[in-house]
Every structure is written in structure tokens, then in C-alpha cells.
């Protein structure tokens, strides 16, 4: 008897029933507060700065002036755009880690006509050509691993990841082809004087059009995932491929179709980066947002409207971190440490939303219940 008792584990983990929304949010809020408190303690111990000042500085870095709000919104739009591209693929449990590469290829698709045709054809046609090339380039870059997955069941995680490096090298090659001046290995602002291929400004604001396009895209993806047959097929394939096959869904077709969509949206974001934002192409222009986007999408459970919030959170953390480093003369890494702690708590609390931990004592009760 004693023997069996000692075999009872100290605690064990069970899956929770769905929590009511307010309790779920209460847990999330508590997690954020705990994260903030730990950040505060670490700040005081390591750099001896009042943590409240640090949080104030972070807020000011992201929202301190109207220009900063615009820049934050623009960064959010780009990150959200890439996350929207990744969401359908991840919903299908297709690990598309190639957001960076697909967006970079989109940048290349937009840059090539901008340089080669700039000033030779009417601007509106040029912009259309750039858009089409960017979307196609992104889609093709996603199609390659998707086709291999559908045909030979290759590992898409590794495949899409490696495609990022191939894309970076291709971009580096074309930067040397179009470099200015010779040997400098950079392109500089393209068509600075003619503004050919630049997205028009709305009013006085350069970023407004980018933001509007992404807002429309958010709504479209929401409807696509929620209310269309395609969206339904994606979730069925994600839940269980066998079930999907059983009910007559052509799994291969869904994989290829969804990845084409994923890559095409990445391409669109690449177009926005080149034509609407930077008017140049560099190997680091996407800045790892193909990976940050994965986090944005997962944190929001692939709901495009929640993704607005999660992308705001991540952009806020990164812009806040950069402001801390300037104001307090600290390295950027300090802000990243704080952001990392907060994310750890936020992601960690999702565990407690899905599972509960039962200690030895409560296990007994469970037994009695059963």
C-alpha cells in the first residue's frame, strides 16, 4: 500500500476546460504585472534606475510625439502584414519560417522594375508592375517549399528557413549589380529625384497609405479564414490531415494554395517596404520580422484582430527598448532583456490558460469525484 502511495507524482498537469473570457484576461493581466515587477527589480539591481522612469521612457519612445506615433503605426503595419501572411500557413500547421525570405523576394520584385523601368513608363503602370512582380516573387518563394512538401513530404520548417538565406544572398547579388557608387555595395534611394515607383502620399503623411492597405488586408484575411470554404479547409487540415482526407479535402491542393497566399502577402509587404517606405533595398530591410511575425500570429491565436494588439505590443517593446538605450546610454540589449522578460510572462501564462496543475492532495479529490 505504502508503495503505491509513494508512486503518486508530486503534481500532475491536466488540460483545462475553456476558461470564461474574463478569467483568461485576468490571468493575462496578472502575468503582465508580474513581468513588469520582475523587470523593475532587475532594472533597479542592474542599472539602478527607477523602473517607473524606464516604463515612462518606453512609452515616450513609442508614442511621445505625433511623428513617433506614425512611425510606430507604420512599423506595426509592416509587422502585422507579415503576420497576416503567416497566419493561414500556421493555422494549417505548416511551419512557414520563411517569412523573411518571401518578403525579401517581394522587395526584389518591386525594386527591379523600379530601377529598370523608372521614368520610362507612366508612374501608375510602373507601380502596378512593381506590385505584380513583388506578389509573384513572394508567392514563388513560398511555392517551392510547399510543392516539395506536397510532393515528397519534405520538412517544411527546415526548407522555408533555408530559403531565407538563399533569398538574402540573391538580394546581396542584385545590390552589387545595381550598386551606386561603384564598390559601395548599397543602392541608395531609388529615383530620388523623379520619385518614379514611389507610392503616393495621402495628404502630408507618407505612411498612411501603407497603414490603410494593411487594415483592409486584416479584414480580408479575417473573412477569408473565418467565413470562406478555403478558410474552413485550412483549419480542418491543421486539426488533422487524416480527417481532411476522409471528408474529401484535397490536402496537397490546400497546402499549395495556402502557401501561395502566404508568400503573395509577404510579397505585398515587400512591395510596401520598397515602394511605400524605404525606396531602397538592403539585405536587412525585413529585419527579422518574418520571425517576429510568427510570434505575433501565435500569441493572437491566428485571429487577425487580436494580431493588431500583439503586433502593437512587439513594436512597442522594440521601440521602447531603443529609446531606453538612447536616454540612459545603455546598450540596446538592455531593452531587449526587458522585452524578453515580458514576453516570457505573456507566453508563459498561455500555458496556465490551457492547463492546470494538480498537486498530490487535489488528486485525491479528483479520484473521489471520479
Amino acid at each position: 500500500m505504502n508503495n503505491t502511495l509513494s508512486k503518486v507524482p508530486l503534481f500532475h498537469i491536466t488540460r483545462r476546460k475553456e476558461l470564461p473570457w474574463y478569467r483568461a484576461w485576468l490571468i493575462r493581466v496578472i502575468a503582465v504585472i508580474m513581468g513588469l515587477i520582475l523587470c523593475g527589480i532587475i532594472t533597479m539591481l542592474l542599472v539602478k534606475i527607477n523602473p517607473l522612469d524606464v516604463y515612462k521612457t518606453m512609452l515616450s519612445g513609442a508614442f511621445g510625439t505625433s511623428r513617433r506615433i506614425w512611425v510606430t503605426a507604420q512599423n506595426m503595419a509592416i509587422l502585422l502584414g507579415i503576420s497576416l501572411a503567416l497566419a493561414p500557413a500556421f493555422r494549417m500547421r505548416f511551419w512557414n519560417l520563411g517569412g523573411d525570405g518571401q518578403t525579401l523576394m517581394g522587395c526584389l520584385g518591386a525594386t527591379a522594375p523600379m530601377i529598370l523601368l523608372g521614368g520610362k513608363i507612366p508612374n501608375i503602370i510602373l507601380i502596378l508592375i512593381m506590385l505584380i512582380c513583388a506578389v509573384l516573387a513572394g508567392a514563388i518563394w513560398a511555392l517551392i517549399p510547399a510543392a516539395f512538401k506536397a510532393k515528397w513530404n519534405t520538412n517544411e520548417t527546415l526548407f522555408t528557413l533555408m530559403m531565407n538565406y538563399v533569398a538574402t544572398q540573391i538580394i546581396a547579388y542584385f545590390i552589387v549589380v545595381w550598386e551606386n557608387p561603384k564598390g559601395a555595395s548599397q543602392i541608395g534611394i531609388i529615383n530620388a529625384n523623379t520619385m518614379a515607383g514611389w507610392l503616393p502620399r495621402i495628404g502630408n503623411n507618407q505612411y498612411l497609405l501603407n497603414i490603410l492597405i494593411i487594415i483592409v488586408l486584416t479584414v480580408v484575411i479575417y473573412i477569408y479564414m473565418r467565413y470562406t470554404k478555403h478558410g474552413y479547409e485550412i483549419s480542418v487540415v491543421g486539426e488533422s490531415e487524416a480527417t481532411a482526407r476522409y471528408v474529401g479535402i484535397k490536402v496537397r491542393r490546400v497546402i499549395i494554395r495556402t502557401m501561395l497566399l502566404s508568400g503573395a502577402i509577404c510579397g505585398l509587404v515587400g512591395f510596401l517596404l520598397v515602394s511605400g517606405t524605404s525606396h531602397t533595398m538592403t539585405t536587412t530591410i525585413v529585419d527579422g520580422r518574418g520571425f517576429t511575425g510568427v510570434m505575433v500570429a501565435w500569441l493572437a491565436k491566428f485571429n487577425p484582430f487580436f494580431m493588431i494588439l500583439t503586433s502593437l505590443l512587439l513594436v512597442f517593446l522594440s521601440r521602447g527598448a531603443s529609446e531606453i538605450s538612447t536616454i540612459y546610454g545603455l546598450n540596446d540589449s538592455f531593452g531587449s532583456i526587458l522585452a524578453g522578460i515580458l514576453l516570457f510572462f505573456i507566453i508563459g501564462c498561455e500555458f496556465f490558460l490551457n492547463y492546470q496543475i494538480a498537486l498530490k492532495k487535489t488528486r485525491k479529490e479528483v479520484k473521489i469525484d471520479a
Binding site: 484576461w25 515612462k56 557608387p181 564598390g183 538605450s325 540596446d332
Partner: protein, 411 residues
């Protein structure tokens, strides 16, 4: 009990939401007030900003941050440093944000920042923008946009003298023959700044060791420790008796230390990485330029469109010579040549000291005004020497002279 919990939860959420809003609201108000108040004392304490491509972990950016803070402290002005700013719209956003924050002088350190600095300069005509290593100030012709560089080729030449003396020592000791006096050079790109750098280094060595030749390899990156180390190892295998580099990592010095091959460094001393092989290093000291620019803005004067720091302004510096490795009398010889360069008695790119395809260069059109077609536009051979950094501060020497072999030109 359950009802209580519900109420408690809602109250907590509400408190948090209000707290967030209040914090945001609060932030909105003092921000304009803050920029206003920073504009007000601008008369007493001026504010300046620096935009860096990386942070202090890169020797290149560290060199700028050091010079900038030194100048700001000497002039008693407030400063803001923004690190890790890419060569994209990010640079423009940062520059105008610094202007919003009341900076009256804004500087950037990376070549690719230039176009975005020009864009910001057009939007803020009352703010002075200074861009190091850029090439467009003289063609853009904006009253508030300026480029700067230093005659680092003079520093390279002096470092080359130290290298040549070391080779002579090795020849005298019978370690190599005069014909085997070959140096290796690890460059980043086939960019004028790099070509100007390795050519002046080579000419410095040749001025004391006439039989010297040099192999150059390119890594295709300004900072790639593995590629730089590999490049240096390749050069050593090809029989190079001494290595120098124009790239920002410790790759080449480390390769030299491992192989026991003497190294002439750049951007600052690398003696810690190569105590038994480091000879000397040249570097640009940016403090004099930033001090000059701050003084100009304080006095309401325009900053020189193309400012070139020299040995005289202390913008071009050599580190202490590592006596344990350098040939005897190196420090004295460097001082002697330095005086000759300063007086103009000696010119780095004297056309009698080098040939191209076996013939002396008597006329050369350089691409001084940047354009996509790389059109050569300016005659730069003046009074028997290549007039480097005369028509613009950034180097434009890009002649492939005899004695130097390029192993690869992919980049």
C-alpha cells in the same frame, strides 16, 4: 463567492486599462512641453545627435561614438546617440525625430545613411546635418548638409612605412629574400575608400622597401570575422610575409597571431589580440571634426561642405608602435615621414612612385560626382600627384597600380 471573483476581475481589468490610458495620456502632454522646453534652453545648452549603424560592439561605430562624446563633452553640449539604425527609412525617421527633440546638429556615421540624411536636411533647413564618409554634399548643395572624412591615406602611408621597415628587417635577417617581400591585404569591397587605403599602405611600404609586392583579397562585408580570418590565412599560405586589413573585426589580427605573421592594423590597436604580431595601427579621430561642427553651429556659421581632417588637425592618428614586433627605429621613422607629409615635401600619391600597366600616370579622370553610370568627371592629377580628398572629402582614388595583385574582385 463566484460573483465576488467576477467583480474583482472586472475591477482589476478596469484599473489596468485606466492606468494604461492615464500613462498614455500623461505621455502625450509632457512630450510637446518637453520638446518646447528643450528648444527654449537651446541658447544655453545646445543639443546634438548621432546616428550609428551598429552599437559600440563594432570597432567602426565605437570609433565614432568615442570621438562624438569627446567633442560634446569638450564643448559642453547635450547629446543623444541612436544605435543600430539601418540604412533604410529608419535613418530618416530617426534623424527627423532627433530634430523634433531639439537637436540643432545631427550626424550619421554610415555611408548608406546619406540619402536619408539629405531627405531629412531638406525638411529641416534650420538644423545642420553632417554625414561622415558620404559623397553627395558638393552635388546636392544644400546649405545645411555637409560631408566629412579624413586624409586617412596619410595614416595608411605611415603604417606602410612601418610595414616596409619590418620587411627590410626580415630580409636583413635572411628570413625572406628581397624578391619574397610580399604583403597581404584583406579588404571589404572594391570601393574607392578601400582601394585608396591599400594603395597608400603599399606605397608607404614601397618607399622604404622598393621590391615589395602585395596581394589583396576582398570579403564582401565590412564586418565578417570568419571571412576576414580566412582571407588572412589564404594570404599567409600564398607566402605573404606581412598582413594588413581594411575591415572591422579581429579576424585578420587573430589569423596573424596564430601563424606568427606580423600585422599592421586599422581602426585602433589590436595588440590585445596579437601581442606577438601587432606592429602599429592607423585610425581616424573624429573628435576634431565634431568639435569644429559644434562650434560652427554655435556661432551660426555654415559647416564646410567637404571637411577633410588631416595629420595637422589630429584627425589622422597612429597608435603606439609595438616595439616588441616592429623593426628598430620605426617610431622615429614614422615621425620623420609624418613631418614631411605635413609640410607637403612628400606626397602619398606622387605619380613618380607608381605606374599603371608599366607606364606612369599623367592624367586621370576620377568619378567625383556620384552618378549611376560611374561617369569619370574630374581631372585629379595635379602637380605630379593624385589629388586625393581635394574635390570631395571621401576618397576617390581607384587606380589599379602595378605591384598589387587583386586575387578576387567579386565584390
Amino acid at each position: 463567492m463566484k460573483g465576488m471573483k467576477k467583480v474583482f476581475a472586472l475591477v482589476l481589468v478596469a484599473i489596468f486599462a485606466v492606468g494604461m490610458l492615464a500613462a498614455c495620456g500623461k505621455k502625450e502632454e509632457p512630450a510637446p512641453a518637453g520638446s518646447g522646453s528643450s528648444a527654449a534652453p537651446a541658447a544655453s545648452t545646445m543639443k546634438v545627435g548621432l546616428i550609428c549603424l551598429h552599437d559600440e560592439n563594432s570597432t567602426y561605430d565605437l570609433n565614432f561614438i568615442k570621438g562624438f562624446t569627446e567633442a560634446c563633452e569638450a564643448e559642453g553640449v547635450e547629446y543623444l546617440i541612436r544605435t543600430n539604425i539601418g540604412e533604410t527609412q529608419d535613418c530618416y525617421d530617426t534623424a527627423v525625430d532627433l530634430a523634433d527633440k531639439g537637436c540643432t546638429l545631427i550626424c550619421a556615421d554610415s555611408f548608406g545613411h546619406e540619402d536619408y540624411m539629405i531627405q531629412a536636411a531638406k525638411e529641416f533647413p534650420d538644423v545642420q546635418f553632417c554625414h561622415a564618409t558620404g559623397t553627395k554634399a558638393h552635388t546636392e548643395n544644400l546649405p545645411n548638409y555637409a560631408n566629412a572624412f579624413a586624409s586617412i591615406y596619410e595614416g595608411r602611408f605611415l603604417a606602410g612605412v612601418a610595414a616596409g621597415m619590418k620587411l627590410n628587417e626580415m630580409i636583413a635577417a635572411g628570413k625572406i629574400t628581397a624578391d619574397q617581400a610580399k604583403m597581404g591585404y584583406v579588404g571589404a569591397f572594391t570601393y574607392a575608400e578601400v582601394i585608396s587605403g591599400y594603395t597608400s599602405f603599399y606605397l608607404g611600404a614601397k618607399s622604404v622597401c622598393p621590391t615589395v609586392t602585395m596581394d589583396v583579397t576582398f570579403t564582401g562585408s565590412w564586418y565578417d570575422p570568419a571571412a576576414e580570418q580566412e582571407g588572412a590565412e589564404t594570404l599567409i599560405k600564398r607566402g605573404c610575409a606581412l598582413i594588413s586589413q581594411h575591415a572591422d573585426s579581429l579576424g585578420a589580427p587573430t589569423a596573424c597571431e596564430n601563424a606568427g605573421v606580423p600585422n599592421v592594423s586599422y581602426n585602433g590597436s589590436t595588440q590585445a589580440a596579437g601581442p606577438n604580431t601587432f606592429i602599429v595601427s592607423s585610425r581616424i579621430n573624429w573628435a576634431p571634426y565634431y568639435q569644429y561642427a559644434i562650434q560652427c553651429v554655435k556661432a551660426g556659421k555654415a559647416v564646410d561642405k567637404d571637411w577633410t581632417g588631416t595629420l595637422e588637425t589630429d584627425s589622422v592618428q597612429l597608435t603606439e608602435v609595438n616595439e616588441a614586433v616592429a623593426a628598430e627605429g620605426t617610431a622615429a621613422a614614422i615621425e620623420e615621414v609624418k613631418a614631411k607629409l605635413a609640410s607637403g615635401e612628400l606626397k602619398v600619391f606622387d605619380t613618380t612612385t607608381f605606374t599603371k600597366d608599366g607606364a606612369p600616370v599623367t592624367s586621370y579622370m576620377a568619378d567625383v560626382d556620384s552618378d549611376p553610370a560611374y561617369e569619370a568627371d574630374t581631372e585629379v592629377i595635379i602637380d605630379g600627384a593624385f589629388a586625393e580628398s581635394k574635390f570631395r572629402s571621401a576618397p576617390y582614388f581607384d587606380i589599379q597600380i602595378d605591384g598589387i595583385t587583386l586575387l578576387d574582385t567579386a565584390f
